[in-house]
């Protein structure tokens, strides 16, 4: 793959300028011709350098243009720190080069160039430890923000206070690690007032960005076996395609290396990677199967029949499936046993998603309800009426705070899962068939051939999509690629990978999921995952319930008290005695006597207790303080 041969054309500056003219409204042009000339120069310079992009030194090769700042635009602080590559689609402003000297000035350091001899007398310009912004500390706060330290026991209070202090300290110190992050988020930012991101096409994006990123925009034409279901692995490295006519392919989509390709000669309803790229599950016409990444069938799950949708819960090793007869079942793939299964009696289940924050499965139904399930509860833990018509798609955001639903009534609704309130309701041009949230909260929705992406649609009311793309064939599956600015779309004529700036989390945690994982690392991670497997019965709406203190409600306390006072039958077995005293009749008589006595005792006790309670109550009533002299004028009861 020689990057020079093909992509040189794309970066022709003259062409690019034409394009920018075509796709973007002109903004107030403050710069004169000189600036444009300079721009051209610069651009061609970048073009020149580009030839040596992959041949040059490692680490610097990717740099094509240096970042340029205008006076009026305010780049975020992060961008100033790192040498990020930012590409401008229309080059209007040209300014001084970004350099380290400017960086220093921005931070207010003035005494850098002092002569050596005077250094000792200099006052430290940054005394004390560096301050950590409060919002960052809040972000890294694990557990509850405020611990309730008010208890009856001073010792416990003291301990809780110490815990709180420790947690705060930990959060602060963790927030400092923000500095070590290597990458910044992607973005598509307006520079002019009248620019519109919605009008930017994928080709514009691909032309504007560097070639490695541009190569993430591609299409696989698979006309014969579609429509396709797709799924990315947790680290975003591998892609699984399942054509409904039986074609299954697993690929490393970045290098475009094929892992395996098979045809199961049966309808494929859904495909899902299991915990790693070594195995995947396929819901086929009759049963579900597990294949390895060579395409070898490992298991036939006859317990999962007629499955329409699959979800895999990676921390619990549970494969959840929803079938055509309305049956939801969970299989523990680490031991191969069925954990539980419930008939939902809600009809065909073809809308399903998981809540990544608490491993609860959400199902959408034809009546417009969305139900949420956990494996150890027979009934849905949450049942909400979301639409007046059938629900077509459900998606839950990474933190588990927001849920997006779409119905055939063309509405897209955003729900707050903490309060179960609807936050926003949008009317779409058509009912969204597929919904998907990205790691950074972008929402993608597909309407027929068109995919729309929305930014910040949960936190504020938006008026138009962030990006839009027409695929020319009906979309069957949407999935954002984790840790990449890429949206995968499975449609009836293959697979498309679209560029969505700002979709993916830029900094991965290698101990959680690592896109650059080696074989040994993968094997070690698998063992660790299995050791940390969370039991299925720990799934709860509140994922952190295990660290909370259980307090009985008054109702539960009364119930518990009642249970302790409940009559317990005494199972008395008389001893066998010699000398004819153990005739069966005698034994029975003795047994009956003891049991009867126990029962009498219980009755006596309860009667005494009740009488005492009554006495107390009547006494309290008599000395009731609410009586007043005016009571005599009250209307008397007929009784």
């Amino acid at each position: 793959m020689d990057p020079n041969s093909k992509n040189k054309k794309k970066f022709d500056p003259s062409k690019q300028k034409q394009k920018s003219a075509r796709y973007f409204r002109s903004t107030d042009d403050n710069q004169g011709d000189g600036a444009n000339k300079q721009l051209k120069k610069k651009h061609s310079k970048g073009y020149e350098r580009k030839g040596s992009v992959f041949k040059g030194k490692a680490g610097k090769g990717l740099k094509i243009f240096k970042k340029q700042h205008g006076h009026d635009d305010k780049p975020s602080k992060k961008n100033v720190h790192n040498d990020v590559e930012v590409f401008e689609i229309n080059m209007e402003k040209v300014d001084h080069k970004f350099s380290r000297n400017i960086d220093r000035k921005r931070h207010g350091r003035k005494d850098v160039d002092t002569p050596k001899g005077r250094l000792r007398n200099e006052v430290d310009p940054f005394p004390g430890e560096q301050r950590v912004p409060a919002n960052l500390i809040k972000k890294y706060q694990y557990g509850p923000e405020e611990i309730d330290t008010s208890t009856n026991d001073p010792e416990v209070t003291e301990k809780l206070k110490a815990t709180e202090k420790r947690q705060k300290y930990a959060a602060k110190e963790t927030a400092r690690t923000e500095l070590l992050k290597q990458d910044d988020t992607g973005f598509l930012r307006k520079t002019g007032k009248h620019e519109d991101t919605t009008k930017i096409s994928q080709h514009d994006l691909a032309n504007a960005v560097d070639i490695t990123s541009a190569r993430k925009f591609f299409e696989l034409k698979l006309n014969d076996f579609g429509p396709y279901k797709i799924n990315y692995t947790r680290n975003g490295r591998f892609l699984l395609l399942g054509g409904s006519k039986g074609h299954i392919a697993a690929i490393d989509w970045m290098t475009k290396k094929l892992l395996c390709e098979i045809n199961v000669m049966e309808t494929v309803q859904d495909v899902k990677w299991l915990h790693q790229e070594t195995m995947y599950a396929v819901a086929q016409k009759q049963w579900s199967y597990i294949y390895d990444n060579q395409g070898v069938e490992l298991h036939c799950l006859k317990k999962l029949d007629n499955v329409l949708r699959l979800e895999f819960l990676p921390y619990h090793f549970l494969l959840a499936s929803a079938n055509a007869k309305g049956y939801l079942s969970y299989i523990d793939v680490s031991v191969g046993e069925k954990v539980s299964g419930y008939g939902t009696s809600m009809g065909r289940l073809d809308v399903m998603c998981q809540n990544p924050a608490n491993a609860i499965i959400a199902l959408g139904h034809s009546g417009g309800t969305v139900t949420q399930w956990c494996p150890k509860v027979k009934d849905p833990v949450v049942k909400m009426l979301c639409h007046n018509s059938a629900v077509r798609a459900v998606a839950i955001e990474k933190c588990g705070h927001y849920m997006a639903t779409s119905g055939i009534d063309r509405s897209l609704k955003i729900w707050d899962l903490r309060t179960y309130n609807m936050l926003h309701s949008y009317k779409l041009p058509a009912g969204a068939g597929q919904l998907s949230f990205s790691q950074r909260g972008l929402l993608a929705a597909s309407m027929g051939n068109i995919v729309q992406m929305y930014e910040d649609c949960c936190t504020k009311a938006i008026t138009k999509p962030y990006l839009m793309h027409d695929l020319h064939s009906s979309v069957n599956s949407l999935n954002f690629c984790p840790y990449e600015d890429v949206l995968g779309v499975g449609h009836s004529s293959g697979f498309s990978s679209l560029l969505v700036p700002g979709a993916g989390e830029p900094n991965f945690d290698a101990l959680e999921s690592n896109p650059y994982q080696q074989k040994k690392q993968r094997q070690e991670a698998e063992v660790k995952m299995l050791l940390d497997k969370i039991p299925a019965d720990m799934i709860h709406l509140n994922a952190n319930i295990v660290t909370e203190v259980y307090k009985m409600t008054p109702g539960e306390r009364a119930e518990a008290k009642r249970k302790t006072q409940e009559f317990k039958k005494l199972n008395f077995e008389p001893k066998r005695k010699t000398k004819g005293r153990s005739k069966s009749g005698k034994l029975e008589q003795r047994k009956k006597g003891v049991n009867e006595e126990h029962r009498r005792d219980y009755i006596k006790e309860t009667v005494a207790r009740k009488r005492a309670e009554d006495r107390n109550q009547s006494f309290n009533e008599k000395r009731s303080l609410t009586t007043s002299v005016l009571d005599r004028f009250k209307k008397k009861d007929n009784s």
Binding site: A58, G59, L62, V86, F87, E88, I89, K139, Y140, Y142, T174, L180, K181, Q182, D183, T185, G186, F187, L188, R189, K190, T191, E195, L205, A208, V209, D210, T212, S213, K216, Y315, P356, A357, N358, A359, C399, D485, P501, G504, E505, P506, N507, F508, D509, A510, L511, E512, P515, Y516, Q518, L531, D532, I534, P535, M538, A543, N544, I545, V546, T547
Partner: protein
Amino acid sequence: MKVKILSRNPDNYLRETKRDIHKVPRNYDPSLHPFEASREYVRALNATKLERVFAKPFLGSLDGHRDGVNCLTKHPTRLSLLLSGSCDGEIRSWDLSRRQCISTIQAHDGFVKGLCAIPDGSGLMSCGTDQTVKQWSMNEDGILDPEPVVTLLGKSLYQQMDHSYGDNTFATCGDKVDIWEATRAEPIRSFSWGVDSVHAVKFNPVETHLLGGCGDDRSILLYDMRGSTPLRKVILKLKSNALAWNPMEAFIFTVANEDYNLYTFDMRNLREPLNMHKDHVSAVMDVDYSPTGTEFVAGSFDKTVRIFPLNIGRSRDVYHTKRMQRVSVVKWSLDDKYILSGSMEMNIRVWKARASEKLGVLKPREKEAFNYNAKLKEKFAHHPQVRRIARHRHVPKMVYNAQKEIMKITNSKRRIEKNRRLHSKPGSIPMIPEKERKVVNEVE
């Protein structure tokens, strides 16, 4: 319009050569680490289970004595040396690292009653039922000279002795407590209080003039070497067998009592013990503190050795073997890693102080993992599953049954008292805390 798309340079994330370590970029954002509480809980549970799996505290036994082991002494300067005296009058020195006997001397006729090392490590002193106190010299390798350096003839039987940590004085006890100086043939001071004899004496390692003793009249006695009369005496319900001073807090000591319990006292307030340590099911014979002063070990007639945290009333761990008989003496090694117990069936046993600890040098990763697991166990200690697994100990049937019986007895006593209080004039049967009830009298 400005655009930036995530584009990572693999060189920043991949190791350069195969010999290099893998690069592990971290992002501690909580949203990337879902289920942190549940995962920590599972890890804590696994750590607790592993701790029980690896709990193999018995390291080996030192076998060689031809009669029950009566006294043990740690060498003050060498960790691997141990000295022991038995009921046939023999003193042996042991190399703990090789688990071998280094040398043997026939020291006394009859029991070796008391044994103590001289703090500079040059020798040891012993007393026996033959009414003599002998001083022995020992070379660098722990080999004992068969001829005593000094022999002191006493007038009565000596029950125990201890050497001061500060100067070259030592104390013996019997029908009275004598303070000796190494150069003199007569005691420089004698303490007596009443007619009853004293069967245990211990110097305070911090306040070196102080010493405590246990008397046959169920008393605990405190002496100051500088004065001429004993300081204080506190009488408990039953006799105390041994006494140990806390090496870190000079005013705290613990006694092993005949009533199956141990009592920790603050010297400044003897009216009631600071803490009562229950769990043994027979008379406690000996007690010794860990060098950190946070825990102590007790050996009992119920054939078990138990480890107690200082401020908790129940034992942390119990050690027993099939062949171990009544434990007469226990010691906690000076490196805080081992426990030594001498028992009546002639063996000295070496145990780990922490049952599941891995011995030897730990690699940094191992150390980190152990620390992490310890913290997790602490965090989730109160969860019912974790607590159940961490608390479970298999004990011999005899101990198990005895525990049940003791429970039954205490419950019935409590019930009787409750009923008595219910049926008598209010206030006529006062509520006295259990700890206070154990102290009969305090005399000054």
